[in-house]
């Protein structure tokens, strides 16, 4: 973390004023946002009339809740229901860890490597001249299941499910440096291979769909109660008593079945929603939204609990120092400063701590893959670290503040050679022991993407200053561009 001058606060205020209007959406857009998944589903099967008719009759025309919601997107409950259903966001975007320190690896692949989770079996990212390919467990499984579904086959048998469950546990990434082969650009050759990373979830039940959570979801059903189902039945009875409703329903049904363009389907469903408003009293609408929001709040608590269940990960990482071309008379090329490849093995354990806090513990060992001149052993370093993340809601009136305490003990047995040892963003070159402690309070300013971090750091030695203990305090602000990009 770096200090910034108070002038930044003026910039912050001005930028916030510009950022806020990005949230604004028209009534028509929010109404469409509610109905868009349904419209898209109908458009997808438009060519197959039998499937389209079944979807309409079985589900769409008698599912009144979205129609009620479409007319109430500006209410508090309406906004909550839209947000809880992610109707205003693209499904598939990863959640980012906020306010954590880089001192201790959290064991989450997207967080660890900084990738957005995508739905492909392999994701490719490029940063500068580095190109990274990463298998994505969720994407891999989705790609496989989608692929098989497209062939009208099924992955529902036990053996297939076991295979998919096993695949979910693994993650592999390869990073290449396109600069390594002079003018050829990215070739994917071994010489360009910069890093290999493999990760296996030894224990991971964070997926809410995991069979282990069946009893949790059973308990949720009991806790949620049938208030929403009751008002749904009452609404259906009310609507059925109105002689004008059946003509509206029949008309919309016919328009959708006879639609020759996607736009006609969209218009018909929007008209259905608009016409439906006439058959629903404000009282019934409010009661339905109340019950729906209550249901989703209960469900959100379940999702949050499951997302924090413990996870144990084993990681292996191979780092290859850049290869330098030797003088013309020498062949083959030699590694820079005789630096051998480095293998790192790491165990990461994350589990809930007190209240809403999370605890992360990790231990790692790094070994050179071979001994080179003057090297007495292959062990380079070992580390053990821990971190506690405390979410502090509404501190000083700011939401989602987070307090993090992290500690690291490291024993560096050899000079790092080609692959640097980075602690808190600072390379460590000198061998010996190192103790490090950091407490950080991070206060985001609403959902603007700005945050103000305060930190206190202790290090048993500071490589860049002098060989003594030091306390340091910092205050600054950071800007998360994803908050803007992701809107």
């Amino acid at each position: 973390m770096t200090s910034r001058t108070p002038i930044a606060l003026a910039v912050l205020t001005a930028t916030l004023a510009l950022a806020t209007p990005l949230q604004a959406q028209s009534d028509e857009e929010t109404r469409l946002a509610v109905l868009r998944p349904t419209i898209a589903a109908l458009q997808k099967v438009r060519a197959d009339k039998a499937v389209l008719q079944k979807l309409l009759d079985d589900q769409v025309l008698d599912n009144y809740a979205p129609l009620v919601l479409a007319a109430a997107t500006r209410t508090q409950n309406g906004r909550f229901i839209i947000e809880a259903n992610r109707l205003d966001k693209q499904v598939g975007a990863s959640s980012r860890g906020a306010g954590t320190t880089n001192l201790v690896s959290s064991g989450s692949v997207p967080r660890l490597l900084g990738f957005a989770v995508e739905t492909g079996a392999i994701t490719q990212t490029q940063s500068g001249t580095s190109v990274t390919f990463q298998t994505n467990p969720a994407g891999l499984v989705d790609a496989l299941t989608n692929g098989v579904a497209a062939l009208n086959s099924s992955l529902n048998d036990t053996a297939s499910q076991n295979t998919l469950n096993a695949l979910r546990r693994f993650n592999v990434s390869l990073t290449f440096d396109a600069n390594q082969d002079s003018d050829q650009g990215f070739t994917g050759s071994y010489r360009q291979l910069q890093q290999v990373s493999a990760q296996v979830y030894v224990y991971n039940h964070r997926d809410p769909t995991h069979p282990a959570w069946r009893t949790v979801w059973d308990a949720f059903r009991a806790q949620a109660g049938n208030g929403l189902a009751n008002i749904t039945a009452a609404l259906a009875l009310d609507v059925s008593k109105s002689p004008e409703f059946q003509p509206l329903r029949s008309s919309v049904r016919a328009r959708i079945l006879n639609a020759t363009t996607d736009e006609e389907i969209e218009r018909a469903l929007l008209d259905y929603a608009e016409g439906f408003e006439l058959f629903v009293s404000e009282q019934v609408s409010r009661r339905m939204l109340d019950e729906w929001a209550r249901y989703l709040r209960t469900q959100t608590d379940v999702y949050r609990t499951l997302a924090r269940s413990q996870i144990l990960t084993f990681e292996y990482q191979l780092d290859r120092p850049p290869v330098q071309d030797a003088p013309a008379e020498a062949s083959p090329p030699q590694a820079a400063a005789d630096a051998p490849d480095l293998s790192a093995f790491r165990l990461v354990w994350v589990r809930p701590f007190l209240g809403a806090s999370d605890m992360t513990v990790n231990a790692s060992v790094s070994l050179f893959n071979e001994k080179v001149t003057d090297m007495s052993r292959q062990l380079r370093d070992w580390q053990i670290g821990g971190k506690l993340d405390f979410p502090l809601n509404a501190v000083f009136g700011f939401s989602k503040a987070q307090f993090t305490v992290a500690a690291l003990y490291m024993r560096l047995r050899q000079s790092p050679l080609g692959v640097p040892v980075i602690v808190n963003g600072v390379p460590v070159d000198r061998t010996g022991s190192l103790g490090f402690f950091q407490a950080r309070l991070r206060i985001p300013l609403a959902d603007s993407g700005f945050s103000v971090p305060f930190s206190v750091t202790y290090a048993s030695r500071t490589e860049l200053i002098k060989d003594e203990s030091e306390f340091r305090g910092n205050v600054g602000f950071t800007l998360d561009l994803d908050k803007f990009v992701g809107r």
Partner: protein, 125 residues
């Protein structure tokens, strides 16, 4: 049980109506509303019927006259990426004990969740 021209279901007084809900590739998140007049009898509580499917069966006895109604809310558990299983679905079967006619409805994951599915009956002597 039979279907009326307006789409409502017609049942006879005292007819036993059985509702079976089968969830595939999702945790079972079906909630039954109360009935307007009758009471539910749980024929089979939620139980596993295959590696990926779970089922529940309830029934009620139609009253002497008037209307009857119930609704189901059906939800789909989403994974860490917010996606449902591509083959997740519910199948609802409603049948009476007087006629061979069975109503079958298939519910697939289309947000917003949960999805509501009402069933209306007219009791006709």
């Amino acid at each position: 049980m039979k279907r009326q021209p307006d789409g409502d279901l017609q049942i006879a007084p005292g007819e036993v109506v059985t509702v079976t809900v089968t969830a595939s590739n999702t945790h079972y998140l079906t909630i039954f509303s109360d009935l307007q007049r009758a009471e539910w009898t749980i024929v089979e509580p939620v139980h596993q019927v295959s590696h990926v499917a779970v089922q529940e069966t309830r029934s009620f006895v139609a009253g002497a006259s008037g209307s009857e109604a119930f609704a189901l809310t059906l939800d789909f558990v989403r994974n860490q990426q917010g996606a449902t299983h591509p083959q997740a679905q519910y199948v609802i079967q409603v049948r009476g004990n007087r006629e061979p006619f069975t109503v079958t409805k298939q519910i697939v994951p289309i947000p917003p969740f949960p999805i509501g599915r009402p069933f209306l009956f007219e009791v006709v002597p």
